[in-house]
Point group: C2
Chain length 333, copies 2
């Protein structure tokens, strides 16, 4: 057995009877090498099963061919959809994607970013948490481009992509207004979360724009978490009101699933007695007993754009905001 698997560029050169410079040219600038030599070199490469050392390459070039993606939680389907799109876009430029999750822990986030700097990544795409702003200068100092994901202009001085949560909230409520509802509940989730606040703002805005009074039309119910149980409790509360709303908008589909449980138990018909619109358009939204209308976010486009911004040298501080779109299903029809 030939001693395969550890060949260096020098070994290839020796076998092919050329200089190391030529082998390197075959790999990086094939057009500069005559066909005869090119063939000899490629033959030697296959023969030796040669794979070039990324370390040596990076050391010389000053940067690697990797881009870092740092998300809160890899488990979140939105981020994975975006990640997929990022990966595909980068692949076209021969860049590999390195995914890490920060869990929104500053300590962990710092460690992850440090590793990325050590690897001299070509750029970083990150969904910022509370502590992120303090860490970004580390990257900036080293000339590593940064794009903020799902964070429309949260932090000054960096390019960003995001989805317009105000518009999303507005389009959900506008749809319900259009269908004649005049007392609309909103299950907001925790108001400490930016997305919750902005979706609520959008909801109010839609009502104002229709020439109506948000105070009279909208019944917001804050919950402690974005869970199904929280949604169920919120809906139970709403059904006990003197004047029960005829429609409900939830800032998240999972809470709405809980709310639907409560409705089913009380025998409230959907959408006849209670129309529903959720947010996120999760995979099962269309698979529920009553398929759920929901605000869909273009995560793939978001990812693609984030990657494009990262690669664009003069995108320094551009902010791209995508518009969500409403998917209407039986729950509000």
């Amino acid at each position: 057995m030939p001693d395969r698997g550890n060949a260096s560029l020098r070994d290839v050169a020796e076998l092919a009877g050329v200089s190391v410079g030529t082998v390197s040219h075959v790999l990086n600038h094939p057009e500069r090498v005559s066909e005869a030599l090119r063939e000899k070199v490629t033959a030697a490469i296959t023969e030796l099963n040669f794979v070039r050392s990324g370390a040596a390459r990076q050391l010389r070039q000053g940067h690697s061919n990797m881009v870092g993606l740092v998300v809160f939680d890899i488990g979140n389907p939105f981020y994975t959809d975006a990640a997929r799109a990022i990966e595909d876009t980068l692949a076209a430029s021969d860049l590999a994607l390195v995914i890490s999750s920060s869990d929104a822990e500053p300590h962990r986030e710092a460690r992850v970013l440090r590793t990325l700097i050590e690897q001299q990544v070509r750029g970083v795409i990150i969904t910022p948490s509370e502590g992120t702003a303090a860490l970004l200068p580390m990257l900036r100092e080293r000339g590593i481009p940064v794009v903020l994901l799902d964070s429309p202009g949260d932090i000054e001085g960096y390019a960003s992509v995001g989805v317009d949560d105000v518009a999303g909230g507005a389009m959900a409520v506008r749809h319900l207004l259009d269908r004649g509802h005049r007392l609309i509940a909103m299950i907001t989730g925790p108001m400490s979360v930016r997305q919750a606040r902005q979706r609520l703002r959008g909801a109010r805005q839609a009502i104002t724009e229709a020439g109506l009074d948000p105070e009279k039309i909208l019944v917001p119910v804050e919950t402690e978490a974005f869970t199904a149980n929280a949604g169920e409790a919120a809906m139970s509360l709403l059904l006990e009101r003197r004047e029960v709303p005829t429609a409900t908008f939830a800032a998240n589909d999972v809470m709405m699933i809980g709310a639907m449980r409560s409705l089913r138990r009380q025998g409230v018909r959907i959408p006849a007695e209670m129309a529903l619109v959720g947010y996120d358009d999760i995979m099962v939204a269309s698979e529920l007993i009553t398929p759920l209308s929901s605000v869909h976010q273009p995560m793939a486009e978001l990812g693609r754009t984030a990657a494009e911004l990262l690669l664009d040298p003069d995108a320094d501080e551009r902010h791209v905001v995508f518009q969500p779109n409403l998917v209407v299903r039986a729950s509000s029809r």
Copy 2:
């Protein structure tokens, strides 16, 4: 402003007034350096904001501090749960995780593995697809440890971790038998998929073990895909039978959600007229109108063990198989 962010180990040495060797020792073998110098060096490191070059380090050491994880699809929640556990386990050994998805495309998988080899990763954890077996020798040749994920001994000669799908199928059906059901449908999914075959085998086995005849008890229905629509169609078919089963086991929760749609439309009561058990225990299983019993897989343990096997030098060809567990909810109670 000091020119921060590009300092090399030599710059640190200069500022601290010591040799490069000493700085390196401070980083890697602090105990060999006197306290006085150690402090001077650490001061210089902070002053210059020094982060060592991973490339140079790797080049010299012959390997990086990264481990590659290659999955079918990052979007799949199972894999992300496992990924999280892998990441945590590796972090304890100061190893970073690089996640990539192969989409089960051999072409893409080959490219991903090539990148990992270039990076001289310390090991690779991979969920193998059809073409994987042919690619693994590339890693073996280079002495890169490999652990197969979710693939109990599929490929000879490599360590692996997996969940016992036969046992999973068996425990679902055993539960239904225990509750007195004697005509049980199984929505299998495509039989070309190993998981589908093994879960069916488990189902048969449970019936045999109970001293009954699988041919008389079990009604398998193959579908073309693991989707909700496929599940719905399968259930409609079952309901048209002369003798309608009193229980259904689906090889996947999403198909079961479709099946439940069909049942609801026909007014079949769950579990009184039809008991249900799914597989995967997806997040919404507990959030459905009728909470769904489902076979749960210990993905976190799977991930942790995969990482441990990877780091264990004498785990060369060990196979670890986990047992799934049945979560009983209202749909079969």
